[in-house]
């Protein structure tokens, strides 16, 4: 099967709607089919990556730990738009640590989250074969 470049664009916050959870499910399916998967977090989507989410009192599933499984599916490119973080008073330290093992570098553990500015992220959109929005 030919490999395509898929970019999943996440622009919604995590718990107010089903979009964020559904996106993560589809990402894992795409990655299981060994496609070249990248994720982008823009606008309120950046809130999906915050640490210490505890949904025990709102009666919904906390799916945020599932992001940690992405590394096992070789998802190594998680792009976060710097402008979206700054507007919301957030920094990289507020985000979960997501890592992958780089097979081209003796399986060294590396950071999967890359904080980039709008211009750089726009260029990444151009490089994709498929754009999926949530």
């Amino acid at each position: 099967m030919a490999t395509k470049k898929f970019l999943y664009v996440n622009r919604r916050p995590p718990h107010g709607s089903i979009y964020a959870l559904e996106s993560l499910e589809v990402v894992l399916i795409g990655a299981a089919f060994e496609q070249d998967v990248s994720l982008a977090f823009v606008d309120d989507g950046v809130y999906q990556l915050l640490r210490k989410q505890d949904t025990s009192e709102i009666g919904s599933k906390n799916f945020s730990p599932t992001f940690r499984a992405l590394g096992d599916y070789d998802v190594s490119k998680i792009y976060v738009e710097r402008e979206s973080l700054e507007l919301r008073g957030l920094t990289k330290d507020d985000l979960m640590e997501l890592t992958y093992e780089d097979e081209d570098d003796d399986w060294a553990e590396k950071d999967a989250i890359r904080i980039i500015d709008s211009e750089e992220l726009g260029a990444i959109f151009e490089q994709q074969d498929v754009l999926l929005n949530f």
Binding site: H15, D44, Y47, K52, S56, E57, S64, R88, L90
Partner: protein, 102 residues
């Protein structure tokens, strides 16, 4: 007592909070729930709007919704009162009317 205004949308995605703040009268209160709670985060663009609104209104935020979204009580701007579900119910009974800015 007059109106309790309830906002459940993110201030970065919808204009519900802006419209609420524009129309809410001085003796009314504002309760932020669900994605509305992102407005209380310190050092963020929406915080300055709430800061000036605090001069006119009592502002509450629902703590279970903060916890679910990974925003800690320490990370909220000064002057916001956090309430639990019981507090939400009490507020609903204290005000004459509820206005939900959907």
């Amino acid at each position: 007592m007059s109106i309790l205004h309830i906002v459940n949308k993110s201030p970065y995605e919808r204009n519900s909070l802006d419209t609420c703040l524009r129309l809410a009268q001085a003796d009314s209160a504002i309760l932020l729930i669900e994605d509305g709670i992102y407005a209380v985060k310190k050092n963020a663009a929406a915080a300055s709007k709430l800061q000036s609104a605090l001069e006119k209104h009592k502002i509450y935020a629902l703590e279970p919704d903060l916890k679910a979204r990974g925003i800690s009580a320490d990370d909220t701007i000064e002057g916001i009162s956090l309430v639990d579900y019981d507090g939400f119910v009490t507020l609903a009974t204290e005000y004459e009317k509820l206005q939900s800015w959907l």
